[in-house]
Amino acid sequence: MANYNTADPTITSRPASVRKPPRVDFGPSLIGRVLGRTVTLLLLIGFALLFLYPFVWLVSASLKPKSEVFDNKLIPDTIQWSNYKEVFNQLPLLHWMFNSVSIAFLAASFVAISSSIVAFGFAYFRFPLRNTLFGIVLGTMMLPTSVTMIPTYLIWKNLGFLNTWVPLFGSNLFGSAFYIFLQRQFFLGLPRDLFEAARLDGASYWGMFWRIAMPLARPSFIIVFLFEFQAAWNNLQGSLIYLNGGTAKGFTVPLGISYAMTKYAPGNGGQGDYQFVMVAALIVTVPLLLLFAAGQRYFIEGVATQGRKG
């Protein structure tokens, strides 16, 4: 394939405004264009409805009395606000939320800080085997978690941390491959002169990291934090392994909802009170939606960066 490209070395820094020659309209006719645009817009709206439908359905199901949950009407015949009060009597939802918020906050803070430190080590300093070691960092992303799952369990068990929060954020103290990669990319973008100048002014290596690099790296720090918060919020398998032996109050959100799904399943002697599952599912979604509302551009930027690591 021919190389169409200019010498621009990085994908990220390509200027958005590649110079456009004046548009010569040999293409589709005006009518064709308007038609094309309308079809595009209709498709976009159609898919938006498709993606939104389950949410609307969820909100309405959460407001219905038990007998109407399955009628699939988007506007409930009977609106039963009391579901939102009763769910807290039925399930220790506040405990789950508190546990998950705490764990997710610790997990995200730890991994964001430790990954930044490691990333700065790889980005700024020159030392033997640096590139080899960084290659290993990238290589560990390939490893399925199940390979290390059992030994990790045994480590935490022998340290006496079963049925505590520690296994759910403990390994985050040591950085995480993708986040190290992401932070390093950011640090590499900082001009080296900045650090050389600080050196001359007598800054320590730690000072360079903490006072110069970190404040500048806030965007990628936030990306890492948000990503890990979401991952911890969703960590079902970890909760199953480390918290399942405890009481229901000690559950996290994913473990709790899973428990609720079973509790109300009719096949299991439950009463089929799915409206409570729906309320709970909706409530545990809200924190992530708020996070997304606050940091949408960081999420999008973070995901887009994943594609560039290849």
Partner: protein, 320 residues
């Protein structure tokens, strides 16, 4: 990626001695570098390398959690992998799912990204809406789809009935269990879509304009310009999605296997779920460790094959 720019100050160092290797690194700087990466090194030695070795050892034992003993088992666990019919069943289920899910995800995500890339005003709103499923916790998604996919009362079959189609028993019919999971996966395809969208934004516009002058239609433009230009992203997404497909756990566990007293049929047994059950419900650590290594080898081979094929088709930017 590992290749960083040649450090200019190295070259500028005075007095090129006969032993350049020793002069190449500034001692205090190198030590500081090691100090900075020390957290990762420790974590790697314990939670990755150490754990891998430990896991490999366990896979050759009948590890007993209750007594903490590990009687040697030779290759028993690996033989059992071959003999256990549920291994074959769960592997074929997972493979079936992956073969169905990955191409559909790629096509759907690329289609959505192309749509988004065509509009200027309002694209942000659509992108936000499309991304919402990705922000929904998997437990919430599973709770919703448990009811939406219900064969008799679910909204999906109700909708199909209006179109005159008699929908299947999604979560019960052995043939429809895996497509159900695919459907849930596709609903959350927006992560892949965002990666494609970023790639599409990087395709130089003048290429399309030149093609238009040459009279290329939209289909031709898509296959002759867009696809080659974003082949890197297609390649990356395919690898990542394949690896993810082989490790699918949450959805399957929540829909079919969360209730220990009420086991599902083997038609919904995915590899990661079976592995989890062997490890943390039966506590067959030796066998589960062997399963994990089998998965690792499969994924490694698949990725190598994909890289091999990919290298033939993927068009890289000038930097490569």
């Amino acid at each position: 990626m590992t290749r960083t720019a040649v450090e200019p100050s190295v070259a500028a160092q005075p007095a090129p001695s006969k032993l350049p290797k020793q002069r190449k690194f500034n001692r205090s700087e190198a030590l500081a570098g090691y100090a900075f990466i020390a957290p990762w090194v420790i974590g790697f030695l314990v939670f990755t390398l150490g754990a891998m070795i430990y896991s490999l050892i366990i896979s050759f034992t009948h590890y007993n959690l209750a007594t903490g003993t590990a009687p040697p088992a030779g290759i028993d666990n690996y033989k059992e992998l071959w003999n256990d019919p549920q291994i074959r069943k769960s592997l074929s289920n997972t493979l079936f799912y992956a073969v169905l899910a990955v191409p559909l995800e790629i096509i759907f995500a690329l289609f959505l990204a192309s749509l988004l890339n065509r509009v200027k005003r309002g694209a942000g709103i659509f992108r936000t809406v499309y991304y919402l499923p990705k922000m929904t916790p998997m437990v919430a998604v599973a709770s919703m789809f448990l009811l939406l996919l219900n064969g008799n009362t679910g909204a999906i079959n109700q909708g199909l009935r209006k179109l005159g189609i008699n929908g299947p028993q999604w979560l019960v019919d052995p043939n429809w269990v895996k497509p159900s999971i695919v459907l849930m996966t596709l609903w959350g395809v927006s992560g892949t879509m965002v990666i494609f969208l970023a790639a599409l934004k990087n395709v130089p516009r003048d290429l399309y304009e030149v093609a238009e002058l040459d009279g290329a239609g939209p289909v031709r433009k898509f296959f002759s310009i867009t696809v080659p230009q974003i082949s890197g992203a297609i390649f990356f997404n395919t690898i990542v999605l394949t690896i993810a497909a082989f490790q699918v756990f949450d959805q399957v566990f929540l829909l079919f296997w969360r209730d220990q007293n009420n086991p599902s049929s083997d038609d919904s047994l995915f590899y990661a779920v079976y592995l989890f059950q062997q490890a943390f419900r039966q506590f067959n650590f030796g066998f589960a460790a062997a399963m994990a290594w089998l998965l690792f080898v499969i994924l490694l081979l698949l990725t190598l094959i994909q890289v091999k094929i990919g290298n033939r088709f993927v068009y890289y930017e000038g930097e490569r």
